[in-house]
């Protein structure tokens, strides 16, 4: 994940991610095809570790909303080169991130043909968000909803205990 303006890094990341998805899903254990859980976990540990580096210059966040705003702006732009298009919340721990043109879905043709295969390409990102929030002190579950390619919605539910 590059924070520089290097051109090669973007393409490299997309190819690596596509290959990651393909590898994880094709590695069969006991004849059963691999599932997205390991892909999500890869995203989780990446997100967890990268937070230390990305929040270096930032002061600590006072509440959940500030943390979410950081995820939508700086975190997203350093990885996907753009900010989240819309953030909705019910102020009770549920946040929805609207992304009109998700990077990994842009290269797949829009239309209903590949809608079933699309969730595999967002699993890594769901884990990434979950890992980032976990290291910032928020335990949560992240799911993704794809209605229309390449738009995507990430539902974040913060656990309160």
């Amino acid at each position: 994940m590059s924070v520089s303006k290097g051109l090669v890094d973007d393409v490299l990341f997309e190819f690596l991610h596509a290959e990651l998805v393909s590898y994880v899903l094709n590695s069969s254990k006991d004849g059963k095809k691999g599932d997205v859980t390991s892909l999500e976990y890869i995203g989780f540990s990446s997100g967890y570790r990268i937070i230390e580096r990305l929040t270096k210059e930032w002061p600590r966040f006072k509440d959940e909303l500030e943390t979410m705003k950081f995820i939508c702006t700086d975190f997203w732009s350093s990885i996907y080169k753009k900010q989240i298009d819309n953030l909705r919340t019910n102020h009770q721990g549920v946040y929805v991130l609207h992304e009109n043109s998700f990077r990994f879905l842009r290269k797949i043709s829009s239309g209903r043909q590949y809608l079933e295969a699309a969730p595999k390409f967002v699993a890594f990102t769901c884990g990434l968000i979950r890992g980032a929030l976990a290291n910032l002190g928020l335990d949560c579950t992240v799911t993704a909803e794809i209605q229309q390619m390449p738009a995507c919605k990430f539902h974040i539910q913060v656990q309160k205990n």
């Binding site: 967890y48 230390e52 270096k56």
Partner: protein, 139 residues
């Protein structure tokens, strides 16, 4: 006769790195204060957390005082706490030491083989800590 005891504390209040720095011109070692300084550092953890809630800064200056020992703290965005138990007051030096130590820690934590909240056992890390201490603390 300046001694500094540096401690990095993980999320579960477990020490993941500790090191003691003393100034060079100390011929006789009178008493080993190690157990006392470790105790003081752990007792200060509650106060560190309290101060952390009040401010968004990473560097919390002096959070606790015990007899003539002062405890200074630095807390990262991911709630890893750096503590320093020291006798003399040296705010600028300590602030610089903490920021540079933070950079070293970031580089170390980016290693995919390092699991966060586990002990840091790395000769290069220790050497870096010693070098930074000589530069900013013991001088």
């Amino acid at each position: 006769m300046a001694t500094y005891y540096f401690l990095i504390v993980g999320h579960y209040d477990n020490p993941i790195f500790e090191m003691e720095f003393t100034s060079a011109n100390r011929e006789t070692k009178k008493e080993d204060h190690r157990h006392l300084t470790q105790f003081i550092a752990h007792a200060a953890l509650d106060l560190v957390d309290e101060h952390a809630w009040k401010t968004g800064n990473a560097y919390l200056k002096t959070v606790d005082k015990f007899n003539n020992w002062l405890v200074s703290a630095f807390i990262t965005s991911s709630h890893i706490r750096f503590l320093l138990v020291h006798e003399p007051k040296n705010e600028d030096g300590i602030r610089n030491f903490f920021s540079e130590m933070y950079e070293v820690y970031i580089k170390y934590s980016m290693n995919p083989f390092y699991q966060v909240d586990t002990d840091i056992r790395c000769a290069a890390f220790e050497r870096k800590a010693l070098f930074l201490a000589r530069k900013y603390l013991t001088g």
